[in-house]
Symmetry: D2
Subunit: 341 residues, 4 copies
């Protein structure tokens, strides 16, 4: 069985395991106030080009989204996002559990537009019954998106400008940030993402760490008492150093982007191979997730030897599936998959 | 100024005021445990044809929706409803504030179908990632709907059957129940509504009471400890008898439906008059809300003498507006409006 | 049966019923934006001596406490109050349902002290693990208290000063405000209460209205978007004018305090009569609630003819009970009770 | 600097790190559905002597407490616990954030009694206003407690019996379970704990794992849809196998209790050494936390070389401090501390 189901299949990058082992018997204080976390924060602030940023570490994506969003919104506010956004479909209502409505907008290939955001903000205020409606309090987008697509610099800049004009924070879910930045199709750098977002996170869990997300408050005023929010939402790791050590490692010698680049390279080999064989795709993804359209019978047959995710039905006899590559994807695994298709 | 903005414009039916005055100095215990509430419960149980039903009184619609829905759902469950449903658009996220996602389905003229509900229930269980998604735990519909439309007996029966097969409660928002039942277009009786719903409420606020909604649990097992829910949600009226007295009066001599019938008669006079003048309508409403399409300039001019609600833009020069009639609508007011159009 | 159970036993002051009747067929807009609400706000602002105050009307006490408190606190903050405070014991956890811890302090005769509040604020910041603890975000006190007692001007001023030094709002639950102000034992005026509180409310439900509480934001910055909070918490009355008309009436010709004064007079006649007969009391209450200590057998016998509340056991054969007087208490009822004891 | 601040100072038991390294490149499915988790569940079910138990893995203690408690309670119910319980003081109101009141009882040395629990359950039902009060829905205790103390088998059995008679679940926070079971003062086995609790957890974070808590539902009916609760509360670890591998290791060759035993041995050496020098203690702790009373000046001086926690002031010149031992405590560290005192 060779698996392409997701990017969680293996443990972590060997460099991380080495550092965890080397530091195992060091004594450090808990809850993220140790020297490893401080060092990791320093490296991240340098990498994002913002010495005034405030950086916090959490364990996983749903926890991070819930904690950040509930820290930014008033009770009567909701979060604007793509209908396909992770917070709208795959977090078991964690945002609503925290009291906030997800104001989902129709999305194209996983993305929303500045015009949609503007219309949402303006429409609310114009409505005579606005107090009877949830106020749109912030915007959430994913980079790269749940469909592997990317916002261009122009698109992201336009959304950021709308948010700043309305003084509503822009939050970027970067669970797959590296896969976006490492794509040849991206025209954005990490520093540019940091300049356009008010808050974003650098995903570790999906990018070679055992677990961990680094939240970067580019607008540090928004981080007020954020540690209380982390603790209340069950996200304050006792041995916080585990997060510090991992991000210290990921931001040493450019490991974060190098690992992502490997995943992209293998995804492109897969994509190009499938294209050459004549397969169509659900959408044009320039990152580590590829969504080819296969015959249903072929999908069944493939399951004997390969792990992957059913994505959506296309017609009576075809469906789109998802193959993911990661830092750990072996080239011979991609070769085997191509050979089987 | 003659107002058709909503059904809240006047105080209450004179019969109610008389009864409140007559009983004013009686001493009764609080919180809905007095003899008037008991009598009102008895009359309602008789009217709905269910001696085993459990009846509770609350003050307003948003409060009732929140309290009922949060009492029926587990934390990880959401409520299925029409995208145009009151809980999805006009309650400032009260359902989400209580922790639950509103699973909004595309609606036609304010209604959803049994097929949509079936697809929602079945689709959730089929999904391999179902634990990552909100579980559809109940269905909410409005009768009459926010657009004045009505489910037919066949439509409501089909939805009820899907809910019972999946063992998920069907909750009917009856804020405008009387306007539906009193419409000549309705093929449902109060007893039939009670037989098809698991819980529903009989709206008082929009139907001639000062305030008040009577929640009827047709499935009394669902009412377990409901008084705790009422109190926790701030809905337990200290002088609960005010609700008892009002519903006692509404369910004496058929006042509830008679008052609604008056509203329907005036609405139909308005509708027929406008049709005769050649106006088109946003939808075909058989109840007390009418949505004619007017020229924007005409709308502006009309505002000098009449109160009504802007509903939605139709094209560059036309918009739909809403006129409501109620128990209190004077025939000469409708005449004056027709004359002005 | 003559009842002294609570202050909810009758409907409302006759003046209120007259005004509701006289205005019944007026057409007004909904949700508290009508002329009656505007007039009532004006009268209240004048009475509290603060033209810049912001006034909102809600239906009941639990709803008011929940809405105000959740609008003032961040998610990680709690509300400091007396262990005997209404929000801590008699609201079915409505504050916690809204997400906030009640930080209950030991109380003496229903009251807490400035020193306790100071210690709570200071202790939190001094703790090395403060992020692991709920932050005390505001203070809630009741005037008069749940035991009928009163804060003196000196006591209230001291609490207010601590709150202002720490920039944490002071919220006064005035469900029984009139009974406090009308007591000869009070050295506070309504204007002084307004000067010391950041937010407080003027109780209508317990003071002769059918229902209704008038929230006064003495610090209007704290009222930001408060109408969204009201709506989300199910407290926005459709026929908002009912609240406006009632408070307009209560603040005309000093009706509010006159009605409270009657209750106090009758309570004092009862207290003095019981003292003369040698009864002891649970505490020395200078307001409309009296807590004499009776023999258990006497309590049982009394129940045949009188309604009242069991309060707490004192020893093996004695318990304290509660008798309440109100605007509606008839002098001959007090005479009858005294004769029976 | 030698640290005794807490049990989080080092990484993890070397056996765990070895197993993580050995398995690093295995491909497994995510979210706890892999073979390692299955194996760990099997070992735990065997160790607790309940083949019908349901076992789930979460990351940390606060997250576990919140998720379990909110899954067991109805909205109007609260959790009964000791005032010193972790959920009442050190979780930033996470339980209340989830909507539930913590019903804190006065505790002696961190423990509550069966009589207190009985009184709480019975008192609620007897109260005429019970619907105005939070219903006590379950009981939470810690073993070992926050003060290092232990419930005896008789005490725990009595509490369990009260809970079962009232059909309210008993939940044991076992963050420090091993330190309790490994103490010579304990008369309970793991199997006995499992027989008396309805749900409990086996703490990993404080007992030698990198992180992780294993929740054991001894009453599997209570675990209904628990994975939804985990996901909604942000506790579903993507690489769930990390938890499986750790608990597999901890429950191989009795590692869990052996590691705890080492901590107890060192704690007793410390305790006995201090006793011999004449020090008094805040309480008599038979586990890995020791709370000696020191002079304030001595505390200050000790901080130059040792890490430990200030616990509470005893008198004008003395305070209690806390020293913790763990699986990783080196004997020479205890020797050094004893020499310094």
């Amino acid at each position: 069985m060779i698996r392409f189901d997701c990017v969680y299949l293996e443990g972590c990058l060997p460099e991380i395991l080495e550092r965890l082992t080397a530091s195992n018997l060091e004594q450090t204080v808990g809850y993220g106030e140790d020297a490893h976390c401080a060092a990791a924060r320093g490296k991240i602030k340098e990498a994002v080009g913002r010495s005034d940023a405030e950086v916090h570490f959490l364990v996983g994506g749903t926890q991070t989204n819930t904690t950040v969003i509930s820290s930014l919104l008033k009770p009567y506010q909701g979060v604007v996002c793509a209908a396909s956004g992770h917070i709208n479909v795959h977090e078991t209502g964690a945002i609503e559990h925290g009291g906030h409505k997800v104001l989902a907008l129709p999305a194209t290939s996983g993305k929303i537009t500045a015009a949609q955001v503007e219309e949402t903000f303006a429409g609310h205020r114009d409505d005579a019954n606005h107090e009877h409606m949830v106020q749109p309090g912030m915007v959430y987008i994913s980079y790269s998106t749940e469909l592997g697509t990317l916002y261009s610099k122009a698109e992201l800049t336009a959304i950021s400008e709308v948010c700043r004009r309305w003084q509503r924070p822009l939050f970027i879910d970067g669970a797959r940030l590296g896969y976006g930045l490492a794509s040849p199709a991206s025209d954005l750098t990490l520093k540019e993402v940091a300049a356009l977002a008010d808050v974003f996170y650098i995903g570790g869990t999906k990018q070679g760490a055992l677990f961990g997300e680094a939240v970067v408050f580019c607008n540090p005023a928004l981080a007020h008492e954020f540690r209380y929010h982390i603790k209340q939402n069950g996200g304050m790791l006792a041995k916080g150093r585990l997060l510090g050590i991992q991000f210290e490692t990921l931001f040493t010698d450019d490991l974060y982007l190098r690992a992502a680049k490997h995943a992209i390279d293998e995804a492109f080999r897969l994509r190009d191979g499938l294209r050459a064989k004549g397969y169509a795709f659900l959408c044009d993804s320039p990152t580590n997730q590829q969504f080819p359209i296969l015959e249903d019978s072929q999908i069944e047959a493939l399951r004997a030897d390969f792990g992957f995710e059913f994505w959506q039905r296309i017609d009576a006899t075809h469906s789109a599936v998802r193959f993911c590559t990661s830092w750990a994807t072996r080239p011979d695994a991609v070769d085997a998959l191509l050979a089987a298709l």
